[in-house]
C-alpha cells in the first residue's frame, strides 16, 4: 500500500517525532523505555503523549507488575498511518536537498 506524503503538525514537534520513531519500531513500548531513550522527565513526556493520544495517534494501557503500575504505549492504526505519511513527506522534502546538491 503506497503512502501519500502528508505533513502532520501534531507529529512534527521534535520530541513527539522522536517518540513516534520509537513506537514505530515496536508493537508496544513501556513509558519508562521511551522516557529514558529520549532523556526527558515524566511530566514533559506525559504532556507530549497526551497530545498524541488526543489526536487518536497512540493508545495508553496501564498494567500492574509486582504491585507497581506500568504504562504501555502503542500506535493506533491511524497513528501508524499518519506517522508513515509524515515520514514520507520529510523524505520527499529532504530528497529535494540531495537533488539540489548534486553537481551538474
Amino acid at each position: 500500500m503506497s503512502v501519500v506524503p502528508t505533513f502532520d503538525p501534531v507529529i512534527h514537534a521534535p520530541l513527539r517525532l522522536q517518540a513516534c520513531a520509537i513506537l514505530s519500531s515496536v508493537n508496544e513500548a513501556e513509558f519508562a523505555l521511551v522516557r529514558d531513550t529520549l532523556g526527558v522527565s515524566d511530566s514533559v513526556l506525559s504532556k507530549h503523549l497526551k497530545q498524541l493520544e488526543e489526536a487518536g495517534y497512540i493508545k495508553v494501557r496501564k498494567a500492574a507488575l509486582g504491585g507497581r503500575q506500568r504504562t504501555w504505549l502503542s500506535f493506533t492504526g491511524k497513528g501508524r498511518k499518519s506517522f508513515a505519511a509524515h515520514v514520507a513527506e520529510l523524505e520527499r522534502l529532504a530528497a529535494t536537498v540531495a537533488a539540489a546538491s548534486q553537481p551538474d
Binding site: P9, H12, A21
Partner: protein, 149 residues
C-alpha cells in the same frame, strides 16, 4: 506550517539517532534466548510422547508461549512482532522454515521409519537452533535500529 528541506533532513536524522539509542536500552538476557530455544525444542520433542500426553505437552507449550512473551516484554520494556519488517523478518522466516523442516522430518522418521526417538534428537537440535536464532534475531533488530529502520 511550512518547513524547509534542511529542517526535514534534520528531523529524519533525529529519528535515526533516537532509534540507534534504543539499542542501548534494556535487553533480552541469555536466559530468554534459552527459554525460546527450549520452547522450540519442546514443540518438536513432544511428538515422541503418547498421543494423550502430546496434547498435555502442547497445552504446556502454549502456556509457555504466553509466559515467555510476557517475561520478555516486561524485561525489555517493549513488545515486538517477530515478523516485523526488515532483517528481522528474514531471520524469523528462516527460523520458521528450519523449525517446520525439523518438525516434519522428525514426524516422517518416526512414522515411516519407526525411529521413535527422532523427535528427541530433533528437539535437542531445535533447542540450540532456536536459542541461537533468537540471538541472531536480536542482532538483526539492533542493526535495523542502528540504520534507523
Amino acid at each position: 506550517m511550512v518547513i524547509d528541506q534542511n529542517e526535514a533532513a534534520a528531523a529524519l536524522a533525529s529519528m535515526r539517532e533516537v532509534k540507534g539509542r534504543m539499542t542501548k536500552g534494556p535487553r533480552w538476557s541469555w536466559k530468554y534466548h534459552c527459554l525460546f530455544g527450549g520452547l522450540m525444542g519442546s514443540l518438536t520433542a513432544i511428538q515422541a510422547l503418547p498421543i494423550l500426553w502430546r496434547f498435555v505437552g502442547l497445552g504446556f507449550c502454549f502456556l509457555a508461549i504466553i509466559l515467555i512473551k510476557k517475561w520478555g516484554r516486561d524485561a525489555s520494556g517493549r513488545f515486538i512482532n517477530g515478523f516485523r519488517r526488515g532483517r528481522t523478518r528474514i531471520v524469523a522466516s528462516v527460523l520458521l522454515l528450519i523449525f517446520l523442516a525439523i518438525y516434519l522430518g522428525c514426524s516422517w522418521l518416526m512414522l515411516e521409519r519407526g525411529i521413535w526417538n527422532a523427535p528427541l534428537y530433533g528437539g535437542a537440535a531445535m533447542f540450540v537452533i532456536g536459542a541461537l536464532g533468537d540471538l541472531v534475531w536480536v542482532k538483526a533488530y539492533d542493526t535495523d535500529l542502528a540504520e534507523g529502520k
